[in-house]
Symmetry: C2
Subunit: 408 residues, 2 copies
């Protein structure tokens, strides 16, 4: 390329000791911003390589969806040779991100002090379930544990009280996004400061989900009433939920009186707009069941597509309720390059970057996901300037896994 | 303070033209990183100031929970005088973030070109429903519209197929987090580049939620089977969901065979560990209904607290299912300063920062939320160096709202 790389993280090297979802999601975002991700795996590889379903070539669809464009090296940190390579990698890196349970990396010989001694410019971010402090520091956690412990589960579910998991791993993903913010904040402070300006950032999944509970926390404290699951409806805006039509559901979000009147007009039910029970948002929320029944009676006259078109034309916020198959085919999703082909994956598409920076380019395809240890020699040669002899010595000493198992 | 401010965004000025949730959430995170947030409101104020429930002093609990520590100025951008002040603010700012529908700010006289001419170092981030490109650019959206349109609604709900909204405004919040990432990425590129290195970043709520659908997209493409709501269970790991005990529910997440065997031991049901139907994760997922019934039969012997303690002691990931009241009282949440008192709000607590940076300090309280226009004179004097005479002239010309209405 003749033009300079305009991506914000061009030239930044990230040593990525994470696996499965939260950390790999974070380093996927960092890669989209231009960083080089050195994925340090155990000789057995990221657990997610074993998560089905699998693509025709045998790769895990889950793993591919999170790891395109990263470079992989397998290191056995239980060997001295593996730790030697890792120490050199930390010297060469700008960022270390890891998601071991607190204490694990220190027991392998890399506590905060040693890491700082190796590279005092390093931005070191950890992602864990409960963080490095407090009575529950170090306890094991999965996304679902945190969805429960944070209270999110208690406010997600049906009106009759059946609690359900948010359909995506919100705790993993939100903590992954905060980890990205921690990395960028650390790098920015480093640029704006003098030498030795590394940072140590502690991101916890529980903190992350508590931080996004928004009006549930505010409502509970202001009223003393414990928030409960509300089905598809909004706690304080009405109408703002799913509605049945003649042939399927739609979401209508009439956030104010003007939109509500417009909605009643389109539905051919102007009497609802003048009904005293529905005069303002507070009244509509109080009489929500009656309003829902009246709206659904009107909506039963036509199907979801017809109502969506009519309400859109009138400027009333509305949406069909597409399944994943429809989303994959959505023209807006395509126009935004939000589902792009991964190289070498037989047409399998992964998500594009939602951070659209003018002038940077928004690729409509991705490089492929790495095989385990695929970039070992390149990383050792280009990033760490190892000689072939040194690499061979380290391999024989088990740095990259059992030497009798041969090349990665 | 005698020690230097170690926060990554110390000295950074953010002109914040957002309202309600997504944008204010983003600028709350930027404030926690040390930025000065200049909240530019209409003379009527952020809509969220009107959202109940209200605190004893009359402030909106919702508004307070998102806007502590920001400075407020009301500007009427429909007046020439208001636009004059706004142009000066853009000259003085490092960041502009706004969440109008695409085209609105341009129609007020501030298109991309004008903004760049005013300040070519500015990082300009927009947050909108569908983004600035594609067939649906400019359409109105609320969180719930995007939860539907993105497919998230179609995979969140009960096993019998009732779809529910994620209990928090995931579309607003995730797009807010991406907006923060866009701001930081733009600032970092500016620091690493020469003059004139501003950035224009386009964040869409739809892109944001599509980017977090994770294994639903991968599974659908790999298998052709449309993902459906799964209640509280995980699509491919078993047991990994809520279970009934003698007196309430708990979540158990036994992510591998070792944890499953340990779970069976603690439950006094070793026969389940040796049952061929439950031999591996794939078998357990296939026979999930039978396994759930067997586990719940064992769990019925004791209550949620006893099982939580016993499973925790054995290292099996487990959680009770606390309500919001329990979360507010959670010692781990307290130890992490994740709920902290807002000044002047009668003990009302707002969320702390989940980005814990060593050496920066993690405050256990917040400044209060601003009254509408509270910091007008200070902003004009300190940031824009306006004389009292100039401020008076602009006020008379309606820059801050109807001059006949008096001081804000």
């Amino acid at each position: 390329m003749s033009s300079p790389d305009r991506r914000p993280l061009a030239g930044i090297v990230v040593a990525d000791l994470t696996r499965v979802l939260a950390g790999p999601f974070a380093t996927m975002v960092l890669r989209d911003l231009g960083a080089q991700i050195v994925k340090v795996e155990t000789p057995q590889g990221d657990d997610a390589r074993g998560f089905g379903p699998f693509l025709p070539d045998g790769a895990s669809s889950y793993f591919v969806s999170l790891n395109c464009g990263k470079r992989s090296i397998a290191l056995d940190l239980k060997t001295e040779a593996g730790r030697e390579v890792f120490a050199d990698l930390l010297r060469a890196a700008d960022v270390l991100i890891e998601s071991f349970r607190p204490g694990v990396l220190a027991r392998l010989g890399f506590d905060d002090e040693r890491i700082r001694a190796l590279n005092d410019r390093l931005v070191y971010v950890t992602s864990s379930g409960f963080g490095y402090t407090g009575p529950d520091a170090g306890k094991p956690a999965y996304d679902m544990i945190i969805q429960a412990r944070s209270g999110l589960l208690s406010i997600t579910g049906t009106e009759s009280g059946e609690m359900v998991r948010a359909g995506t791993s919100v705790a993993d993903i939100v903590s992954g996004l905060y980890a990205v913010i921690g990395v960028l904040a650390g790098l920015l402070r480093r640029e704006r400061s003098g030498p030795g300006a590394g940072a140590r950032v502690d991101i916890a999944m529980l903190d992350s989900v508590v931080s996004i509970l928004e009006n549930a926390l505010a409502r509970y404290q202001a009223t003393g009433v414990e928030p409960a699951p509300l089905g598809s409806r909004h706690p304080s805006i009405t109408p703002f939920e799913t509605f049945r039509t003649a042939d399927g559901r739609i979401v209508i979000a009439a956030g104010n009186d003007r939109l509500f009147r417009r909605l009643c007009d389109v539905l051919g039910a102007p009497e609802l707009a003048s009904d005293i029970r529905f005069a303002g948002n507070a009244e509509r929320t109080e009489h929500r069941d009656a309003l829902k029944a009246a709206l659904e009676a009107a909506l039963a006259r036509r199907g979801a597509a017809a109502w969506t078109a009519a309400l859109e034309a009138a400027g009333v916020p509305v949406s069909p309720v597409p399944g994943i198959a429809d989303v994959v085919a959505d023209p807006q999703v395509a126009a935004r390059n939000m589902l792009v082909e991964a190289a070498g994956a037989g047409g399998f598409r992964v998500t594009g970057s939602p951070i659209k920076i003018a002038g940077v380019g928004d690729p409509s395809h991705r490089p492929g996901a790495p095989a385990l240890g695929e970039h070992r020699d390149r990383i050792l040669r280009e990033l760490l300037a190892y000689s072939p002899e040194r690499t061979a010595r380290l391999a024989a000493a088990g740095a990259f896994g059992d030497p009798s198992a041969g090349e990665q």
